[in-house]
Symmetry: C2
Subunit: 414 residues, 2 copies
């Protein structure tokens, strides 16, 4: 058995206990929160090694900031775990049921996934956030973070495993893959005897690698090439405000927009208003010929690739379209199925857009930035699914569960 | 573009139309049913080529029987399609919704998967059954059947595509991969730019190949190493009757049992009763040492492998266990997570079994043979999922859908 196979086997055993652990799960979460606070200095010391190594390896200031832990951030992690503890238990809910004519009583009930694998990058707070959600959902979890955060993650995981054991649950309810080579990631993606589901959290490169290599069921998350379409009938001021918000309030996240489509009938009026808003944050506009004809040479000519990529930066692609249908075609071609919004005052255009756009979240007259578990009222979020199986859009505790049928009879045969 | 990529691109275009096709879908299904009847002789003629080739290739009588189409079977296919047409539309159901404090109105609504791929073996009636379910669920479908049925499947698909086109929907709502090489199956499993989900329907070999090769989201179906556990408190006559039913009423299907576990306290009494029932159908018993000590040398010594495989035949593995916990350990080790049943009169044992067995369907005092979409009241069935993502257990129309969030606002930004 390889190290990872052993880890998988241990997690599978732990999952059998966790499956019916009931309120023990909340005890464990509260113990974790306390332990994170009690061991804050040790975690910060480990984090300092990662920061020193990161600086030596030339990480950008923005990456170093994501990596950094301090008292405030550890308090935030502890509070996050407590919030998960305070949510209702997603396990054991009877979703539906009926009595069949032959007297069989059948019910469909929520159950844990079993063993959940999570591959993530950079930020060490994900280690406690993700483990807490999986624990609460009754599943054992195997985490594999990025090599930049390995000392921080190891320290956090040690604290969590001790806390889990302190309430009498198996330590292996949570585990960290400490081998941060590419091989260990690939092996985790292929641990089909032990993993019930794998959730990659990261950029397009990680998602691509998972699609290429995974042999376990996967929930793809997070790649968002999101669009706002400004319809012929749009309130131009609202359009400019929503576009400014969706592009600039946090450009590095997946629900930020990357392309704006503008109906040709309002392009002359809308484009200058949109540009004026974006100029406040010095957003670079990459536009089609029609956009450039209206806004001038300050607009960089857009390439095909500009419509296909996530900039995750203060850059926006803009295209003038002939019609709503034209916009729908563009979105069907380039969208990653995350979030799209139409700005319109036309009832039929709104309905057509919401019916025809095949994305996890489809908006009318609102910013795509609302695609978020917290905003949607799902509680803490494990990620945003951009696939159509199992869960789509923001995933909270409920989306981390599976179900089974329980059938009670008195001797029925078929 | 390869032939399959072109097929995928065509299906994706067709899916955009089908997504909002409403009652046109039922028109298409009724046209398909009529066309199957009208073209029965042409289909039977094509089927005769497959039968002749099959005989020449030395297919067993049982496989030839599965392959054979006649007027009665084609009428059955037509009626199956009509039944799917008569079911309620699974698309456009609002699952839940709420208004957020900021005034955003958010609803979660069922939508089609998009493009569904199905790889199946042997029986040509699956071609119309599966296509009908996918169409009704608003998804385009790409089918790839076995090479034994290629002429039958091609004839059925031609009839269906003409019928679909006759009501004004795109012909490419359904398509058949006519290349039946292993390469085409692998290419379909990796058609990630076009397929939203792949459902393999077949034996353990096919499922294994899909797990190894797929790069698209998969719903695994059908491998069932199912167990009956006879508890200390069981009604022995009921146990014998349920075991006889679950093993012999149709041994080749996935919800038939493969192993019986008997509590040691009742083994002396239960095993002879079970054997007497199974003898009526000459079931071969492969047992542990304790089983052989009770039933004698007519019982073949069971190997480790006998507990791990699906016999799909008149063969049953039997093991005497020390306790319910012992039975739970055995099931956790060998079960494929399909269906398991406990025979008991003990309230706590029943609850422990249903809580601790991690399978799609967990029974008390009933035959595992009920794990079936029709029996569960889900309508026609596309397969039985043995994985924990998306759908688990029998999958009907609802399990062939995805969902999206629609959010209506009046200028909200975050």
């Amino acid at each position: 058995m390889t190290v990872l196979e052993q880890m998988g086997a241990n997690a599978k055993q732990a999952a059998r206990v966790l499956m019916n652990a009931g309120s023990k799960k909340d005890e464990a979460l509260l113990a974790i929160a306390k332990a994170l606070r009690d061991n804050a200095q040790a975690i910060i010391a480990a984090n300092k090694i990662d920061l020193d190594n990161g600086r030596a390896a030339g990480l950008t200031d923005s990456l170093l900031d994501r990596l950094k832990l301090d008292d405030g951030r550890i308090e935030g992690m502890a509070q996050g775990v407590e919030q998960v503890a305070s949510q209702p238990d997603p396990i054991g809910k009877i979703i539906e049921g009926r009595t069949l004519k032959n007297g069989l009583m059948i019910e469909k009930i929520t159950v844990p996934m079993g063993v959940i694998g999570i591959i993530y990058e950079a930020r060490p707070n994900v280690t406690s956030d993700a483990a807490a959600l999986c624990l609460k959902a009754g599943s054992a979890v195997i985490l594999r973070g990025g090599k930049e955060a390995i000392h921080s993650n190891t320290a956090i995981m040690d604290v969590m495993r001790d806390a889990i054991a302190s309430v009498g649950l198996p330590r292996d309810c949570a585990a960290l893959v400490t081998d941060t080579t590419r091989q260990s990631a690939t092996e985790l993606m292929q641990l089909s005897d032990y993993l019930d589901v794998l959730i990659p959290r990261g950029g397009a490169g990680l998602i691509k690698s998972v699609v290429e290599n995974a042999k376990v069921p996967v929930i793809e998350t997070g790649v968002g090439n999101c669009h706002v379409y400004v319809d012929e009938s749009a309130d131009i001021a609202m359009a400019a405000e929503i576009i400014f918000n969706a592009k600039t309030s946090r450009p590095s996240v997946c629900n930020a927009i990357e392309t704006v489509l503008v109906h040709q009938a309002v392009a002359e009026k809308a484009l200058p208003a949109i540009k004026a808003a974006l100029d406040k944050k010095h957003v670079e506009i990459r536009g089609c010929d029609k956009t450039r004809a209206i806004l001038g040479d300050c607009v960089v000519p857009a390439t095909e690739n500009d419509y296909a990529v996530e900039f995750l930066d203060y850059i926006l692609a803009v295209k003038v379209v002939d019609s709503l249908d034209d916009a729908l075609d563009h979105i069907a071609k380039y969208s990653t199925g995350h979030s799209e919004s139409i700005i319109t005052n036309d009832y039929n255009a709104a309905n057509k857009f919401t019916s025809c756009v095949d994305s996890a979240a489809v908006y009318v007259n609102a910013s795509t930035r609302f695609t978020d578990g917290g905003e949607f009222g799902l509680g803490a979020e494990i990620g945003i699914s951009t696939q159509k199986l199992h869960a789509r859009g923001p995933m909270g505790l409920n989306e981390l569960t599976s179900m089974k049928f329980i059938i009670r009879g008195n001797g029925q045969i078929r």
